[in-house]
């Protein structure tokens, strides 16, 4: 079996899921927030805060995990000749989908990765989020079956593929040198989840490994459910189950398993909006082709459409905290429910308009 194919065997996707699950719980032990060893949405939100895009003082930090995911994937893509700069598949729609995915995730308080990690730490509220996620993915599948298509991308010159990795390298410099301007930027939380973090170099190293392996194995938490429902393929689903079990076992060993619904870390108990937020996120991720982690890995291999989605998520994080749509431990933000409903309507319009349901096929335009 060639090295390329070895990465795609069932064993290696189980290993990938297990490694992510254990790494996340260990990162938590080393300082990351509880049940948030890795959360792509939360960590992009922290980066948005560090750059001053929102004013929630407790969630501002440049998370090296996000940087490592992109750069690890970049290294794998270059090593295996899969760095293919490309873009132009409805980038603005992808930006909006990234924005809405973040809005939904911050109503639940976590992306699909954190939903699994919350469950593995005993947070029962995550079950409602995961149910919402599956519901959102199912709506997305309906559109895919109805011919949903954001159009073909095109190969581009190398620079386009290097933009997001370069931004990540810039963020790494800001993190390492902790530049402090008279404006207050770069902002680093002194209390709350943003102040809780594992040592930078350890987090970066672990994230580089995850980025590398996930680029090779195509790990994706949204495609895991989508592929089972859409094409009866359990490859990625195996990885997600492996993540969940490994994180649960690791939490048990590390003394981080606390079952229950009340008082769970960075979580609320409003189950309607735990569910609703993740319906929106699941739908937006499915319409964009993958979970937030996958969008980072694709960005690392030169996909600038995925990079635009990532920037949409960071923009959405700024909006969610400035406009009180993000939840807190006390419950949904004042405008959270309204934002979820508006977001779902926008996603349904996108799903309908970009599918054959309009009776107008893309080839005819």
């Amino acid at each position: 079996m060639s090295l390329k194919n070895w990465f795609l065997s069932r064993r290696i996707i189980i290993f990938t899921g297990a490694f992510i699950g254990i790494a996340a719980t260990v990162l938590q032990k080393l300082g990351n927030p509880a049940n948030m060893g890795i959360c792509v949405a939360c960590f992009e939100r922290d980066i948005a805060g560090a750059l001053g895009f929102h004013r929630a003082a407790v969630v501002q930090y440049i998370r090296p995990e996000i940087i490592g995911f992109v750069l690890g994937s970049l290294i794998a893509a270059l090593a295996f000749k899969e760095f293919k700069p490309r873009g132009g598949s409805s980038p603005l729609i992808r930006f909006v989908l990234g924005f809405l995915a973040m809005v939904g995730s911050l109503v639940f308080l976590g992306c699909p990765w954190r939903a699994l990690l919350r469950l593995s730490g005993g947070d029962g509220n995550a079950l409602f989020g995961i149910a919402g996620l599956v519901a959102g993915i199912s709506i997305g599948i309906f559109f895919i079956k109805s011919g949903y298509n954001l159009g073909r991308n095109e190969r581009s010159r190398p620079l386009a593929g290097w933009i997001l990795p370069s931004i990540m390298a810039g963020l790494l410099l800001l993190l390492l040198f902790r530049i402090n301007l008279p404006t207050g930027a770069v902002f680093f939380s002194s209390e709350g989840p943003g102040s809780q973090h594992a040592p930078v170099l350890i987090a970066l190293l672990i994230a580089l490994i995850i980025g590398f392996v996930a680029q090779r194995t195509r790990f994706c938490t949204v495609a895991a459910a989508r592929d089972v429902l859409l094409i009866k393929d359990t490859y990625l689903f195996t990885g997600v189950v492996s993540l969940l079990i490994a994180a649960w076992l690791s939490n048990m060993i590390l003394g981080q398993f606390n079952p229950g619904f009340q008082g769970q870390p960075v979580a609320h108990t409003n189950q309607i909006w735990n569910f609703g937020g993740m319906v929106l996120a699941g739908l937006a991720f499915t319409l964009a082709g993958g979970c937030p982690g996958r969008q980072l890995f694709l960005s690392g291999e030169g996909d600038s459409d995925a990079a635009v989605f990532v920037l949409g998520m960071i923009f959405g994080a700024g909006f969610a905290h400035n406009f009180a749509t993000a939840s807190s431990g006390a419950g949904p933000g004042v405008w959270g429910p309204a934002a979820v409903i508006a977001g779902l309507i926008i996603c349904l319009i996108i799903g309908y308009s970009m599918s054959d349901l309009t009776k107008k096929k893309l080839e005819d335009l």
Binding site: K81, I231, D233, G289
Partner: protein, 70 residues
Amino acid sequence: MSEKFDVRGLSCPLPVVKVKNKLTELKQGLLEVLVDTGTAKDNVVRMSKNAGWKVEVKEQGEEYLLIITK
């Protein structure tokens, strides 16, 4: 009978969905598929193998030609 099916440039999961639909229409024979990313190639190969179809992968520069026999 052989025909070439171009799913280059499409993002996940459209390549595998379109190929699967195409193969469902095809009663028997060969389908040549052009893909341009490793992910699309892997997904189509896995789907074909799971369905019990034979699939041969040929690298063509930075793209792949997949020859699926049903």
